[in-house]
Amino acid sequence: MHELSLMENVVGILRTSAAENKIKKISRIQLVVGKLTMAVPEALQFAFEVFKEEDLFKDAALEIKEEPVQGECKECRHTFAIKDFEFLCPSCSSPQVKLVGGRELYIEFYEGD
């Protein structure tokens, strides 16, 4: 259950940015979460509810965009989707795979007035 501390970071970033941009109410937040972070979208939504007592977030909808786990072969440069956490190039069978997607965890944008 580290989703609560992740959401604390999210609302912290949003509070600062909203103050800078003179935004009083946030209506929409887009969060990008890779499938190889251990953050569960449902748990993030649940954790966000805690912060909804705050005026800034009262009417905010949290949208979570999930990104697939992707690898790039260091030998043949082939890019592919990693299934079942098997880090093996499907093209040349090399185990030298660099993780290029799936570890995303960032706020893409938010909207408000």
């Binding site: 580290h2 501390s5 970071n9 007035d113």
Partner: protein
């Protein structure tokens, strides 16, 4: 209505704190290990044995992360290593900001190796960089061979897996070759060591690995200073 594009990493603050910790470790040439596992895998017992073996050859200190109690710190203290306990009071992981104040209690100039024992949990600690040089996971055979595939991130991020409770292997259904194969498929560069903390067996290759890392860290610190 205004749309604000941020592309702001959620863990930015943690990453900044981790960077500061890393600079301080680099300055003193200390090799820092983040030791992780599920509760009850034998993390503290492995650490106790490691301290015993390294006494006299390396100056080692420990940060103990637990949700509650100072029991682990008391165990470590008995082995003669300087130790600081962090109680996270409910939080399921250590983060980089918790480490910084704990460092003030050590004489960093005298240390070769700092081991941070994380909160027992295979999920959350994997997400938080503490500023360490390497990550080791203790995985006991009694937990079953399916754990790497169920909790891949922690094994993908680690450099070492210590397979513990090898003395109990005959009494479990753990498929050791399968376990090792799946660990290597998640992370082909993993170093695997089979140990029994209870029986004090299998420690030599692990200790050699640690000593080598400490030596490399010292050399890079000497070059930068």
């Amino acid at each position: 209505m205004v749309k604000v594009r941020l592309a702001a990493p959620v863990l930015q603050q943690n990453e900044e704190a981790a960077r500061e910790n890393r600079i301080s470790f680099q300055k003193h040439g200390i090799f820092v290990l983040n030791l992780m596992s599920s509760p009850g895998s034998g993390k503290t017992s492995t650490l106790e044995r490691t301290i015993e073996h390294l006494a006299g050859s390396l100056n080692l200190a420990v940060i103990e992360g637990d949700i509650y109690t100072t029991r682990d710190a008391e165990r470590i203290e008995k082995r003669g290593a300087p130790v600081v306990q962090i109680n996270t009071a409910g939080s399921c992981h250590l983060d980089a900001r918790m480490i910084k104040p704990a460092l003030e209690d050590f004489d960093l100039g005298k240390l070769d190796l700092l081991i941070i024992e994380n909160v027992g949990n295979l999920v959350c600690p994997a997400e938080f960089d503490l500023g360490e040089d390497a990550r080791a996971v203790v995985l006991s055979v009694t937990e079953g061979s399916d754990k790497p595939m169920k909790y891949p991130l922690i094994f993908r991020q680690a450099q070492v897996v210590l397979i513990n409770k090898m003395d109990l292997l005959p009494y479990t259904d753990c498929d050791l070759p399968l376990l090792e194969k799946e660990l290597k498929s998640i992370n082909p560069e993993l170093e695997l060591f089979q140990i029994s903390a209870r029986e004090n067996t299998g420690f030599s290759p692990w200790l050699e690995w640690l000593k080598k890392q400490v030596k490399i860290k010292k050399q890079t610190a000497d070059q930068t200073s």
